[in-house]
Protein backbone atom coordinates (compact mmCIF):
# COMPACT_ATOMS: atom_id res chain seq x y z
CA UNK A 1 0.00 0.00 0.00
CA UNK A 2 2.66 2.43 1.05
CA UNK A 3 4.77 1.36 -1.93
CA UNK A 4 2.41 3.09 -4.33
CA UNK A 5 2.33 6.36 -2.43
CA UNK A 6 5.76 7.70 -3.32
CA UNK A 7 5.60 7.16 -7.10
CA UNK A 8 2.05 8.52 -7.09
CA UNK A 9 3.07 11.74 -5.35
CA UNK A 10 6.16 12.03 -7.51
CA UNK A 11 4.11 11.77 -10.67
CA UNK A 12 1.67 14.40 -9.40
CA UNK A 13 4.50 16.75 -8.41
CA UNK A 14 6.26 16.52 -11.77
CA UNK A 15 3.02 17.04 -13.67
CA UNK A 16 2.21 20.09 -11.55
CA UNK A 17 5.67 21.54 -12.14
CA UNK A 18 5.17 21.25 -15.88
CA UNK A 19 1.57 22.42 -15.88
CA UNK A 20 2.22 25.44 -13.67
CA UNK A 21 4.08 27.35 -16.40
CA UNK A 22 1.38 29.98 -16.73
CA UNK A 23 1.33 33.37 -18.37
CA UNK A 24 -1.13 36.18 -18.89
CA UNK A 25 -3.41 35.53 -21.84
CA UNK A 26 -6.21 37.73 -23.10
CA UNK A 27 -9.26 35.86 -24.35
CA UNK A 28 -9.49 35.22 -28.06
CA UNK A 29 -13.26 35.03 -28.00
CA UNK A 30 -14.28 38.17 -26.12
CA UNK A 31 -12.37 41.41 -26.31
CA UNK A 32 -10.72 42.74 -23.15
CA UNK A 33 -11.58 39.59 -21.24
CA UNK A 34 -9.01 37.80 -19.15
CA UNK A 35 -10.50 34.56 -17.92
CA UNK A 36 -8.95 31.25 -16.88
CA UNK A 37 -8.91 29.31 -20.11
CA UNK A 38 -9.25 25.98 -18.35
CA UNK A 39 -12.66 27.08 -17.08
CA UNK A 40 -13.83 28.83 -20.23
CA UNK A 41 -12.66 26.06 -22.59
CA UNK A 42 -13.35 28.33 -25.54
CA UNK A 43 -10.22 27.77 -27.66
CA UNK A 44 -8.95 24.23 -28.04
CA UNK A 45 -5.38 25.17 -28.93
CA UNK A 46 -4.59 26.79 -25.60
CA UNK A 47 -5.75 23.81 -23.55
CA UNK A 48 -3.67 20.83 -22.55
CA UNK A 49 -4.89 17.26 -22.71
CA UNK A 50 -6.21 16.40 -19.23
CA UNK A 51 -4.03 13.98 -17.32
CA UNK A 52 -5.41 11.55 -14.77
CA UNK A 53 -2.98 9.99 -12.31
CA UNK A 54 -4.52 7.04 -10.47
CA UNK A 55 -3.11 5.33 -7.44
CA UNK A 56 -5.92 2.78 -7.45
CA UNK A 57 -9.50 2.84 -8.66
CA UNK A 58 -10.60 5.12 -5.86
CA UNK A 59 -7.68 7.50 -5.34
CA UNK A 60 -6.85 9.65 -8.33
CA UNK A 61 -5.92 13.13 -9.42
CA UNK A 62 -7.05 14.92 -12.58
CA UNK A 63 -4.83 17.75 -13.81
CA UNK A 64 -6.16 19.96 -16.59
CA UNK A 65 -3.90 22.71 -17.80
CA UNK A 66 -4.02 25.65 -20.16
CA UNK A 67 -1.95 28.66 -21.05
CA UNK A 68 -3.04 30.78 -18.11
CA UNK A 69 -4.62 28.44 -15.59
CA UNK A 70 -4.49 24.98 -14.12
CA UNK A 71 -7.25 22.95 -12.53
CA UNK A 72 -6.42 20.03 -10.27
CA UNK A 73 -9.08 17.74 -8.84
CA UNK A 74 -8.44 15.13 -6.19
CA UNK A 75 -10.52 12.05 -5.42
CA UNK A 76 -9.75 11.07 -1.84
CA UNK A 77 -9.79 7.50 -0.57
CA UNK A 78 -13.05 6.83 1.24
CA UNK A 79 -13.22 3.27 2.44
CA UNK A 80 -16.55 3.23 4.25
CA UNK A 81 -19.64 5.29 4.94
CA UNK A 82 -18.16 7.17 7.87
CA UNK A 83 -15.12 8.23 5.88
CA UNK A 84 -17.40 9.35 3.06
CA UNK A 85 -19.40 11.59 5.40
CA UNK A 86 -16.29 12.96 7.11
CA UNK A 87 -14.57 13.67 3.82
CA UNK A 88 -17.63 15.36 2.41
CA UNK A 89 -18.03 17.59 5.46
CA UNK A 90 -14.34 18.46 5.68
CA UNK A 91 -14.11 19.40 2.00
CA UNK A 92 -17.32 21.38 2.21
CA UNK A 93 -15.94 23.31 5.18
CA UNK A 94 -12.87 24.28 3.20
CA UNK A 95 -14.66 25.03 -0.04
CA UNK A 96 -17.08 27.39 1.66
CA UNK A 97 -14.04 29.43 2.70
CA UNK A 98 -12.45 29.23 -0.74
CA UNK A 99 -11.72 32.99 -0.90
CA UNK A 100 -9.27 32.71 1.92
CA UNK A 101 -7.54 29.78 0.29
CA UNK A 102 -7.07 31.67 -3.02
CA UNK A 103 -6.36 28.59 -5.07
CA UNK A 104 -9.38 26.53 -4.02
CA UNK A 105 -12.38 26.13 -6.29
CA UNK A 106 -15.81 26.52 -4.72
CA UNK A 107 -17.19 23.38 -6.30
CA UNK A 108 -15.33 20.19 -7.01
CA UNK A 109 -15.50 18.56 -10.41
CA UNK A 110 -17.94 15.70 -11.03
CA UNK A 111 -16.51 12.54 -9.58
CA UNK A 112 -13.89 14.26 -7.41
CA UNK A 113 -13.88 15.56 -3.86
CA UNK A 114 -11.95 18.80 -4.11
CA UNK A 115 -10.65 21.01 -6.91
CA UNK A 116 -7.93 23.65 -7.06
CA UNK A 117 -7.84 26.40 -9.65
CA UNK A 118 -4.45 28.06 -10.02
CA UNK A 119 -4.20 31.00 -12.40
CA UNK A 120 -1.29 33.09 -13.65
CA UNK A 121 -2.18 35.68 -10.98
CA UNK A 122 -1.36 33.15 -8.28
CA UNK A 123 1.96 32.19 -9.82
CA UNK A 124 2.82 35.87 -10.19
CA UNK A 125 2.08 36.65 -6.58
CA UNK A 126 3.23 33.46 -4.91
CA UNK A 127 6.20 31.15 -5.27
CA UNK A 128 5.45 28.34 -7.68
CA UNK A 129 7.50 25.79 -5.77
CA UNK A 130 5.71 26.69 -2.55
CA UNK A 131 2.32 26.27 -4.20
CA UNK A 132 3.34 22.81 -5.32
CA UNK A 133 4.68 22.03 -1.85
CA UNK A 134 1.36 23.08 -0.38
CA UNK A 135 -0.65 20.85 -2.69
CA UNK A 136 1.62 17.87 -2.11
CA UNK A 137 1.41 18.33 1.64
CA UNK A 138 -2.35 18.61 1.35
CA UNK A 139 -2.51 15.31 -0.48
CA UNK A 140 -0.31 13.51 2.01
CA UNK A 141 -2.01 14.94 5.07
CA UNK A 142 -5.63 14.57 4.01
CA UNK A 143 -5.71 10.80 4.43
CA UNK A 144 -4.12 11.08 7.84
CA UNK A 145 -6.59 13.73 8.93
CA UNK A 146 -9.60 11.77 7.86
CA UNK A 147 -8.34 8.63 9.62
CA UNK A 148 -7.71 10.67 12.75
CA UNK A 149 -11.19 12.14 12.61
CA UNK A 150 -12.66 8.68 12.16
CA UNK A 151 -10.75 7.36 15.16
CA UNK A 152 -11.91 10.31 17.25
CA UNK A 153 -15.43 9.77 16.08
CA UNK A 154 -15.34 6.10 16.94
CA UNK A 155 -13.79 6.84 20.30
CA UNK A 156 -16.40 9.39 21.21
CA UNK A 157 -19.17 7.17 19.98
CA UNK A 158 -17.92 4.36 22.17
CA UNK A 159 -17.73 6.57 25.26
CA UNK A 160 -21.20 7.99 24.67
CA UNK A 161 -22.69 4.56 24.11
CA UNK A 162 -21.15 3.12 27.27
CA UNK A 163 -22.43 5.98 29.41
CA UNK A 164 -25.89 5.78 27.91
CA UNK A 165 -26.26 2.05 28.13
CA UNK A 166 -25.11 2.03 31.74
CA UNK A 167 -28.63 3.24 32.53
CA UNK A 168 -30.20 0.07 31.19
CA UNK A 169 -27.81 -2.53 32.60
CA UNK A 170 -29.23 -4.60 35.56
CA UNK A 171 -28.36 -2.90 38.88
CA UNK A 172 -26.37 -4.93 41.38
CA UNK A 173 -28.49 -3.77 44.35
CA UNK A 174 -29.23 -6.31 47.08
CA UNK A 175 -32.57 -6.04 48.76
CA UNK A 176 -31.78 -5.43 52.45
CA UNK A 177 -35.32 -6.29 53.55
CA UNK A 178 -35.10 -9.78 52.09
CA UNK A 179 -32.57 -10.75 54.64
Amino acid sequence: MAATLKPYLNAVRHTLEAAMCLENFYSQRVERHLKPEVEMRSSKEVLFAPLEICRNDREKVLIEGSINSLRMSIAIKQADEIEKILCHKFMRFMMMRAENFFILRRKPLEGYDISFLITNYHTEQMYKHKLIDFIMEFMTEIDKEISEMKLCLNGRGRVCAVEYLKMFSPTVEWNVSEE
Partner: protein, 372 residues
Protein backbone atom coordinates in the same frame (compact mmCIF):
# COMPACT_ATOMS: atom_id res chain seq x y z
CA UNK B 1 33.95 42.85 -13.87
CA UNK B 2 30.93 41.41 -12.14
CA UNK B 3 29.04 38.66 -13.83
CA UNK B 4 25.69 40.29 -13.26
CA UNK B 5 23.99 43.32 -11.75
CA UNK B 6 20.47 42.96 -10.54
CA UNK B 7 17.85 45.40 -9.45
CA UNK B 8 14.39 44.83 -8.05
CA UNK B 9 12.27 47.27 -10.05
CA UNK B 10 8.79 46.30 -8.95
CA UNK B 11 7.04 44.06 -6.46
CA UNK B 12 4.93 42.45 -9.15
CA UNK B 13 5.94 41.00 -12.49
CA UNK B 14 7.60 42.94 -15.29
CA UNK B 15 5.88 42.20 -18.57
CA UNK B 16 8.26 43.80 -20.99
CA UNK B 17 11.28 46.10 -21.30
CA UNK B 18 13.42 47.87 -23.89
CA UNK B 19 16.53 50.01 -23.82
CA UNK B 20 17.26 53.12 -25.82
CA UNK B 21 20.21 53.39 -28.17
CA UNK B 22 22.63 54.81 -25.63
CA UNK B 23 21.58 52.23 -23.01
CA UNK B 24 21.06 54.86 -20.38
CA UNK B 25 17.28 54.78 -20.48
CA UNK B 26 14.92 51.90 -20.06
CA UNK B 27 11.22 51.63 -20.76
CA UNK B 28 9.52 48.98 -18.70
CA UNK B 29 5.95 47.92 -18.06
CA UNK B 30 4.84 46.33 -14.85
CA UNK B 31 1.65 44.38 -14.87
CA UNK B 32 -0.51 47.49 -15.08
CA UNK B 33 -1.79 50.08 -17.52
CA UNK B 34 1.26 52.32 -17.09
CA UNK B 35 4.63 52.26 -18.71
CA UNK B 36 7.64 53.75 -16.93
CA UNK B 37 10.82 55.24 -18.31
CA UNK B 38 13.80 54.64 -16.06
CA UNK B 39 17.12 56.42 -16.30
CA UNK B 40 20.47 55.01 -15.30
CA UNK B 41 22.21 56.90 -12.56
CA UNK B 42 25.93 57.24 -12.17
CA UNK B 43 26.06 54.48 -9.54
CA UNK B 44 24.56 52.04 -12.01
CA UNK B 45 21.11 51.92 -10.43
CA UNK B 46 18.03 52.69 -12.48
CA UNK B 47 15.53 55.20 -11.14
CA UNK B 48 12.08 56.10 -12.38
CA UNK B 49 12.02 59.16 -14.60
CA UNK B 50 8.54 59.42 -16.12
CA UNK B 51 5.31 57.51 -16.36
CA UNK B 52 3.52 57.07 -19.68
CA UNK B 53 -0.15 56.56 -19.01
CA UNK B 54 -2.60 56.19 -21.87
CA UNK B 55 -3.64 52.57 -22.02
CA UNK B 56 -6.73 51.36 -20.21
CA UNK B 57 -5.83 47.69 -20.03
CA UNK B 58 -2.57 45.97 -19.11
CA UNK B 59 0.40 46.86 -21.28
CA UNK B 60 1.67 43.64 -22.79
CA UNK B 61 4.74 44.72 -24.69
CA UNK B 62 7.00 47.73 -25.20
CA UNK B 63 9.77 48.48 -27.69
CA UNK B 64 12.21 51.34 -28.19
CA UNK B 65 13.47 52.34 -31.62
CA UNK B 66 17.08 53.30 -30.86
CA UNK B 67 17.86 55.55 -33.82
CA UNK B 68 14.64 57.51 -34.14
CA UNK B 69 14.12 57.50 -30.35
CA UNK B 70 10.52 56.39 -30.35
CA UNK B 71 8.78 54.15 -27.85
CA UNK B 72 5.94 51.90 -28.90
CA UNK B 73 3.58 50.19 -26.48
CA UNK B 74 0.68 47.83 -26.97
CA UNK B 75 -1.93 46.62 -24.52
CA UNK B 76 -4.97 44.46 -24.01
CA UNK B 77 -7.26 47.35 -24.89
CA UNK B 78 -6.64 46.66 -28.61
CA UNK B 79 -4.53 49.80 -28.94
CA UNK B 80 -0.92 50.58 -29.57
CA UNK B 81 0.74 53.96 -29.19
CA UNK B 82 3.93 55.44 -30.55
CA UNK B 83 5.50 57.89 -28.11
CA UNK B 84 7.70 60.70 -29.38
CA UNK B 85 9.88 62.73 -27.10
CA UNK B 86 9.07 66.40 -27.32
CA UNK B 87 12.53 67.99 -27.37
CA UNK B 88 11.51 71.23 -25.67
CA UNK B 89 9.32 69.95 -22.88
CA UNK B 90 10.98 66.60 -22.42
CA UNK B 91 7.55 64.98 -22.31
CA UNK B 92 6.72 61.81 -24.20
CA UNK B 93 3.69 62.39 -26.37
CA UNK B 94 1.58 59.55 -27.72
CA UNK B 95 0.48 59.45 -31.32
CA UNK B 96 -2.40 57.49 -32.70
CA UNK B 97 -1.99 54.09 -34.29
CA UNK B 98 -4.89 52.61 -36.24
CA UNK B 99 -4.47 48.94 -35.56
CA UNK B 100 -7.97 47.82 -36.51
CA UNK B 101 -7.82 44.71 -34.36
CA UNK B 102 -10.74 43.21 -32.49
CA UNK B 103 -8.80 41.62 -29.64
CA UNK B 104 -5.87 42.37 -27.38
CA UNK B 105 -2.51 43.34 -28.84
CA UNK B 106 0.15 40.96 -27.58
CA UNK B 107 3.52 41.88 -29.09
CA UNK B 108 5.13 44.88 -30.73
CA UNK B 109 8.50 45.27 -32.47
CA UNK B 110 10.11 48.03 -34.50
CA UNK B 111 11.66 47.00 -37.77
CA UNK B 112 15.43 47.44 -38.19
CA UNK B 113 14.98 50.60 -40.30
CA UNK B 114 12.41 51.90 -37.79
CA UNK B 115 9.98 53.07 -40.43
CA UNK B 116 7.40 50.49 -39.45
CA UNK B 117 6.51 48.17 -36.61
CA UNK B 118 4.61 44.92 -36.28
CA UNK B 119 1.90 44.28 -33.70
CA UNK B 120 0.72 40.76 -32.99
CA UNK B 121 -2.72 40.29 -31.52
CA UNK B 122 -5.22 37.86 -30.12
CA UNK B 123 -7.38 38.51 -33.17
CA UNK B 124 -5.13 36.01 -35.00
CA UNK B 125 -3.61 38.64 -37.22
CA UNK B 126 -0.52 40.75 -37.41
CA UNK B 127 -0.68 44.49 -38.10
CA UNK B 128 2.29 46.05 -39.86
CA UNK B 129 2.04 49.76 -39.17
CA UNK B 130 3.73 52.55 -41.08
CA UNK B 131 3.48 56.31 -40.87
CA UNK B 132 0.98 58.20 -42.95
CA UNK B 133 2.32 61.70 -43.44
CA UNK B 134 -0.92 63.11 -44.75
CA UNK B 135 -2.95 62.48 -41.62
CA UNK B 136 -0.16 62.29 -39.07
CA UNK B 137 -1.03 58.86 -37.80
CA UNK B 138 0.16 55.30 -38.19
CA UNK B 139 -1.88 53.05 -40.46
CA UNK B 140 -1.73 49.31 -40.64
CA UNK B 141 -1.89 46.47 -43.07
CA UNK B 142 -2.90 43.03 -41.85
CA UNK B 143 -1.34 39.65 -42.28
CA UNK B 144 -4.13 37.18 -41.63
CA UNK B 145 -3.89 33.91 -43.48
CA UNK B 146 -3.03 31.29 -42.42
CA UNK B 147 -2.58 32.29 -38.76
CA UNK B 148 -5.10 30.40 -36.66
CA UNK B 149 -4.49 31.59 -33.12
CA UNK B 150 -3.10 34.35 -30.91
CA UNK B 151 0.29 35.64 -32.01
CA UNK B 152 2.82 35.38 -29.20
CA UNK B 153 6.00 36.77 -30.75
CA UNK B 154 7.29 38.57 -33.83
CA UNK B 155 10.78 39.23 -35.12
CA UNK B 156 12.04 41.28 -38.06
CA UNK B 157 14.72 40.15 -40.46
CA UNK B 158 17.59 42.66 -40.90
CA UNK B 159 16.41 43.32 -44.46
CA UNK B 160 13.39 45.17 -43.07
CA UNK B 161 10.78 43.40 -45.17
CA UNK B 162 10.71 39.84 -43.86
CA UNK B 163 9.30 38.88 -40.52
CA UNK B 164 8.79 35.73 -38.47
CA UNK B 165 5.73 35.09 -36.32
CA UNK B 166 5.24 32.56 -33.54
CA UNK B 167 1.70 31.83 -32.49
CA UNK B 168 -0.48 29.66 -30.29
CA UNK B 169 -1.40 27.34 -33.15
CA UNK B 170 2.02 25.65 -32.62
CA UNK B 171 3.54 27.08 -35.78
CA UNK B 172 6.36 29.43 -36.59
CA UNK B 173 5.87 31.21 -39.89
CA UNK B 174 7.90 33.60 -42.04
CA UNK B 175 6.10 36.24 -44.08
CA UNK B 176 7.06 38.90 -46.52
CA UNK B 177 6.26 42.39 -45.27
CA UNK B 178 7.25 44.37 -48.34
CA UNK B 179 4.99 47.40 -48.48
CA UNK B 180 4.12 49.26 -51.65
CA UNK B 181 3.26 52.31 -49.59
CA UNK B 182 6.78 52.79 -48.34
CA UNK B 183 8.31 52.04 -51.74
CA UNK B 184 10.03 48.86 -50.67
CA UNK B 185 12.38 47.27 -53.15
CA UNK B 186 12.68 43.73 -51.83
CA UNK B 187 15.57 41.67 -53.09
CA UNK B 188 15.75 37.97 -53.59
CA UNK B 189 17.38 36.34 -50.62
CA UNK B 190 17.63 32.93 -49.01
CA UNK B 191 14.29 33.39 -47.25
CA UNK B 192 12.58 34.93 -50.24
CA UNK B 193 13.73 33.03 -53.32
CA UNK B 194 11.27 34.83 -55.57
CA UNK B 195 9.82 38.31 -55.07
CA UNK B 196 6.73 38.07 -52.93
CA UNK B 197 4.24 40.72 -52.10
CA UNK B 198 2.99 41.68 -48.66
CA UNK B 199 1.67 38.84 -46.46
CA UNK B 200 3.03 36.09 -48.68
CA UNK B 201 3.90 33.04 -46.60
CA UNK B 202 7.56 32.19 -47.14
CA UNK B 203 8.03 29.29 -44.71
CA UNK B 204 6.05 27.43 -42.05
CA UNK B 205 7.38 25.20 -39.27
CA UNK B 206 5.44 23.09 -36.83
CA UNK B 207 6.20 22.33 -33.19
CA UNK B 208 4.41 20.57 -30.37
CA UNK B 209 3.80 23.65 -28.27
CA UNK B 210 2.94 27.32 -28.41
CA UNK B 211 5.79 29.28 -29.91
CA UNK B 212 6.88 31.71 -27.20
CA UNK B 213 9.81 33.42 -28.84
CA UNK B 214 11.24 33.73 -32.32
CA UNK B 215 14.50 35.45 -33.36
CA UNK B 216 16.52 35.92 -36.50
CA UNK B 217 20.28 35.64 -36.02
CA UNK B 218 22.26 38.90 -36.33
CA UNK B 219 22.97 38.27 -40.03
CA UNK B 220 19.45 37.05 -40.68
CA UNK B 221 20.57 33.70 -42.07
CA UNK B 222 19.25 31.60 -39.24
CA UNK B 223 15.99 31.59 -37.37
CA UNK B 224 15.57 30.27 -33.83
CA UNK B 225 12.35 29.70 -31.94
CA UNK B 226 11.43 28.33 -28.55
CA UNK B 227 8.18 26.47 -28.01
CA UNK B 228 6.20 25.30 -25.00
CA UNK B 229 7.31 21.69 -25.53
CA UNK B 230 10.64 22.84 -24.02
CA UNK B 231 12.34 22.73 -27.39
CA UNK B 232 14.73 25.05 -29.17
CA UNK B 233 14.49 24.91 -32.96
CA UNK B 234 16.94 26.47 -35.36
CA UNK B 235 16.78 26.55 -39.14
CA UNK B 236 19.18 27.97 -41.71
CA UNK B 237 17.79 29.69 -44.74
CA UNK B 238 19.85 27.59 -47.13
CA UNK B 239 18.42 24.33 -45.81
CA UNK B 240 14.89 25.32 -44.98
CA UNK B 241 13.66 21.78 -44.53
CA UNK B 242 16.15 20.60 -41.95
CA UNK B 243 15.35 22.05 -38.59
CA UNK B 244 17.84 21.55 -35.75
CA UNK B 245 15.63 20.67 -32.84
CA UNK B 246 16.76 20.21 -29.28
CA UNK B 247 14.43 19.10 -26.51
CA UNK B 248 15.82 20.71 -23.40
CA UNK B 249 15.42 19.06 -20.01
CA UNK B 250 14.17 22.31 -18.54
CA UNK B 251 10.72 23.80 -18.23
CA UNK B 252 9.41 25.69 -21.28
CA UNK B 253 11.51 28.60 -22.50
CA UNK B 254 9.92 31.99 -22.90
CA UNK B 255 12.63 34.04 -24.55
CA UNK B 256 15.52 33.39 -26.87
CA UNK B 257 18.27 35.73 -28.17
CA UNK B 258 21.34 35.19 -30.31
CA UNK B 259 24.66 35.63 -28.55
CA UNK B 260 26.53 35.18 -31.81
CA UNK B 261 25.90 33.54 -35.17
CA UNK B 262 26.41 30.13 -33.64
CA UNK B 263 24.99 30.33 -30.15
CA UNK B 264 21.74 31.25 -28.47
CA UNK B 265 20.87 32.30 -24.94
CA UNK B 266 17.45 31.30 -23.72
CA UNK B 267 15.48 31.56 -20.51
CA UNK B 268 12.03 30.77 -19.29
CA UNK B 269 10.12 29.07 -16.52
CA UNK B 270 13.27 27.60 -15.05
CA UNK B 271 14.34 31.05 -13.85
CA UNK B 272 17.86 30.99 -15.26
CA UNK B 273 19.37 31.80 -18.66
CA UNK B 274 21.40 29.15 -20.44
CA UNK B 275 23.63 29.17 -23.48
CA UNK B 276 23.38 26.69 -26.34
CA UNK B 277 25.94 26.29 -29.14
CA UNK B 278 25.22 25.12 -32.64
CA UNK B 279 27.64 22.35 -33.63
CA UNK B 280 26.90 21.46 -37.22
CA UNK B 281 23.61 19.64 -37.09
CA UNK B 282 23.08 19.56 -33.39
CA UNK B 283 22.63 21.88 -30.50
CA UNK B 284 24.98 21.37 -27.58
CA UNK B 285 23.64 20.91 -24.07
CA UNK B 286 23.05 24.28 -22.52
CA UNK B 287 25.47 25.70 -19.99
CA UNK B 288 23.65 27.34 -17.17
CA UNK B 289 24.62 30.98 -16.90
CA UNK B 290 23.24 31.50 -13.41
CA UNK B 291 25.87 30.01 -11.15
CA UNK B 292 24.81 29.67 -7.56
CA UNK B 293 27.13 31.52 -5.27
CA UNK B 294 27.86 29.43 -2.21
CA UNK B 295 26.70 31.20 0.90
CA UNK B 296 29.46 31.75 3.41
CA UNK B 297 28.78 30.70 6.99
CA UNK B 298 26.97 27.63 8.32
CA UNK B 299 23.28 26.92 8.68
CA UNK B 300 20.99 27.71 11.54
CA UNK B 301 21.66 26.95 15.16
CA UNK B 302 19.72 24.12 16.79
CA UNK B 303 17.67 26.59 18.84
CA UNK B 304 16.71 28.60 15.75
CA UNK B 305 15.80 25.41 13.95
CA UNK B 306 13.41 24.28 16.66
CA UNK B 307 11.90 27.74 16.88
CA UNK B 308 11.29 27.67 13.16
CA UNK B 309 9.79 24.21 13.41
CA UNK B 310 7.47 25.42 16.12
CA UNK B 311 6.39 28.51 14.24
CA UNK B 312 5.99 27.32 10.68
CA UNK B 313 6.14 23.54 10.83
CA UNK B 314 9.21 23.36 8.61
CA UNK B 315 12.74 23.51 9.90
CA UNK B 316 14.31 25.38 7.02
CA UNK B 317 13.66 29.09 6.81
CA UNK B 318 14.67 29.72 3.27
CA UNK B 319 11.89 29.70 0.74
CA UNK B 320 13.95 31.57 -1.85
CA UNK B 321 15.19 29.70 -4.87
CA UNK B 322 18.83 29.22 -5.69
CA UNK B 323 18.56 31.27 -8.88
CA UNK B 324 18.88 35.02 -9.31
CA UNK B 325 15.35 35.33 -10.60
CA UNK B 326 12.74 34.04 -8.19
CA UNK B 327 10.12 33.54 -10.86
CA UNK B 328 10.05 32.92 -14.60
CA UNK B 329 12.21 35.06 -16.89
CA UNK B 330 9.91 36.75 -19.36
CA UNK B 331 12.15 38.61 -21.77
CA UNK B 332 15.80 38.76 -22.77
CA UNK B 333 17.39 41.63 -24.68
CA UNK B 334 20.84 42.05 -26.12
CA UNK B 335 22.21 45.24 -24.58
CA UNK B 336 25.84 45.36 -25.67
CA UNK B 337 27.72 43.74 -28.51
CA UNK B 338 31.44 43.35 -28.85
CA UNK B 339 33.61 44.16 -31.82
CA UNK B 340 32.75 41.09 -33.89
CA UNK B 341 29.04 41.31 -33.23
CA UNK B 342 28.85 38.79 -30.41
CA UNK B 343 26.74 39.76 -27.48
CA UNK B 344 28.73 40.87 -24.45
CA UNK B 345 25.86 41.83 -22.22
CA UNK B 346 22.21 40.98 -22.12
CA UNK B 347 19.35 41.84 -19.81
CA UNK B 348 16.59 39.71 -18.40
CA UNK B 349 13.34 40.69 -16.74
CA UNK B 350 11.16 38.31 -14.83
CA UNK B 351 7.85 37.79 -13.15
CA UNK B 352 9.55 38.50 -9.84
CA UNK B 353 9.96 42.18 -10.77
CA UNK B 354 13.72 41.98 -11.13
CA UNK B 355 15.88 43.19 -13.96
CA UNK B 356 19.30 41.58 -14.23
CA UNK B 357 22.11 42.59 -16.58
CA UNK B 358 24.37 39.65 -17.38
CA UNK B 359 27.92 40.22 -18.60
CA UNK B 360 28.72 37.38 -20.95
CA UNK B 361 32.46 37.99 -21.07
CA UNK B 362 32.74 37.91 -17.30
CA UNK B 363 30.57 34.79 -17.23
CA UNK B 364 32.73 33.20 -19.92
CA UNK B 365 35.77 33.48 -17.70
CA UNK B 366 34.03 32.29 -14.55
CA UNK B 367 32.20 29.31 -16.01
CA UNK B 368 34.48 26.64 -17.40
CA UNK B 369 33.98 25.50 -20.98
CA UNK B 370 31.61 28.27 -21.89
CA UNK B 371 31.99 29.01 -25.60
CA UNK B 372 30.11 31.77 -27.27
Amino acid sequence: MTTKTEQQLFVGPITSHAFNGALDKLVVSDNSTSVYVYAKQSNGKWTKETELQKHIERVKCVDWAPNTNRISTCAGDRNAYVWNLNAETGVWEPSLVLLRIERAATYIRWSPAEDRFAVGSGARLLSVCFYDNEHDWWVSKHIKKPIRSTILCVDWHPSNHILAIGSCDFKCRIFSAALKETNDKPEISGWMPKLSKFSALLAEYETQGWVHSVKFSPSGDRLAWAAHDASINIVHMDSKDSVIRSLTPSLPLLSIIWASEGSVVCAGHDNYPSLYNINGDTLSAGTRLDVKEKKAGGGMSAMARFQQLDRTGADTKDSTLGTTHQNAIVELRVTATGGDGTCTQFSSVGMDGKMVLWNLDALASSIADLKI
